[in-house]
Amino acid sequence: MTSTEFTPTELPDELLEKYETVIGLEVHCQLLTDSKLFASDTNRFGGEPNTHISPLTLALPGTLPKLNQKAVEYAVRLGLACGCDISRHTIFDRKNYFYPDLPKGYQISQDKAPICVGGGVTVTTKDQENNPVERTIRFHHIHLEEDAGKSVHDGSSSDTQLDYNRAGTPLVEMVSEPDLRSAEETGAFVTEIRRLVRYLDISDGNMEEGSLRCDVNVSVRPFGQEEYGTKVEIKNMNSIRNIMRAVEYERRRQVSALENGDALFQETRMFDAETGETYGMRVKETMNDYRYFPDPDLCPVELTEERVQAIKSQMPALPRELREKFVSQYGIPAYDAELLTDTRDMARYFEELCGLTTHYKTASNWLMGPVRSYLNESGTEIAAFPLTPGTLAELIELIETQVISHSVATQKAFPALLEEPGRSPRELAEASDWLQNRNTNELETLVEEVLQSMPDKVKAYQKGKKGLMGLFVGEVMKKSKGKGDPKMINQLLAQKLN
């Protein structure tokens, strides 16, 4: 009897479904402070190599670290936003290992008493019936640590080049519990974290630039088994899509290995974006002993209740809070709220708008529709959107009071305003003669004219071709030079035809 060898890509679903995928993440996020975590050098992406340096960053003999207060504040903000316990007493530890991008030969991190403990983030995914499912993914802890420099590999030479601009940059590391169960959930989790750090203004959460990076731990186990399977770490993932692909591949690889009776090793693997596969490192990695011990060059951080409260009071509102507020206070659907809270700037804009008009749903539609299209096409962010909430609110009022039609608003007024952002929509509409014709008598005359000019179509409509209504409306609109109120036209046509 021949036994079937399974491969990751050719794996029957029934087998795959026997296993539960268990995923945990370590998310590294660079903080947007002006200076580094312990050194005063500039903390900014880019810059000529080795220009953001100091004696401390190069680990010159005789140098000592000094903690950046702002980094502590940002870490506390993050902890509060995630519902963590903020440690009243937190210390820094040295993580000792050798690597050229690590000048001191140790990284200052936190091991024994991290700044935030517990907490979590809620993610929403869809179940099989496409219903939203909410789950809270817990954190084990969040801690502060410094980033390493960069090794630059010059293809031609036999040397590696070292750039220390990034060395010492402040990072928060969020370590999750192994609560994630699918690639989709993992993607949603990272997306939510990215949104959160941007909302909190502590990071730009840019995965392409490396200000947000993830190490993913994946294992599988048969459903019902309590023991965790062998864990594999995939390092330095820098796009959400690739994280999801890597998780999916790794899940399949592990299941097929187990089904084939092969052994799985606890190892570090890399993801190949071209092939969509993970591969083991060529060089066998010896288990490193980091010899963590409390850094004697730094003193403890004690966070009093007052200090934490002060930080809390200055925190911006969070996406979840805003989503709930939009739904309850402005009565807009959850789906809209989700889109509108995608970025803090968009949410802010919406809120301002809702302060100027009570037509919340229309406001939402405008932002999700024409405004979003404009932003996408022009590559602008909402913060740089030319029209103020006041202008947009005025435009919305004009539509809602039927002064101008919706189509005139979107097709004519909106583009025109974008050209002349300072202009009042009402004034523009009047000057451009866009005011909607709501004169019943006039419109009734036009309707009569149209219906009389196409008697066979009228008959066809009355016989059942209801689609012709659009044609009639269109003709009346033409005759009214686009200023007829479509609703009214519809009503009049309906009266006359039926």
């Binding site: 200076s35 190599p49 080795n50």
Partner: protein
């Protein structure tokens, strides 16, 4: 405390130091005698005593978030055994 060759080489590797075969015996002997001598501390009853992790009473000794680059690139690279105008160089790191 007796340590064997393997333990010595493991520790030497962690510290990125070489131990030549002819040095091993003497080094093991001197380290063992020091480690054994250190074990005197077992005589001290430390039940319920917290480790002294920080010698200073100071807490929250932090600084304002102000950027300042205290070293020019030239000065920073100048002490390096191998460098060009932009980078410090080491033999290629094999991944």
């Amino acid at each position: 405390m007796k340590i064997d060759r393997e333990a010595l080489h493991k520790v030497a590797h962690l510290a990125r130091l070489e131990v030549k075969p002819e040095e091993e015996a003497a080094l093991l002997a001197s380290m063992e005698s020091v480690l054994t001598w250190m074990e005197q501390l077992d005589e001290v009853d430390t039940e319920g005593v917290e480790p002294l992790t920080h010698m200073t009473d100071e807490v929250n000794n932090w600084r304002e978030d102000v950027a300042k680059n205290a070293l020019s690139r030239e000065d920073g690279l100048g002490n390096a055994p191998s460098h060009d105008e932009t980078y410090i160089k080491v033999p290629k790191v094999i991944e």
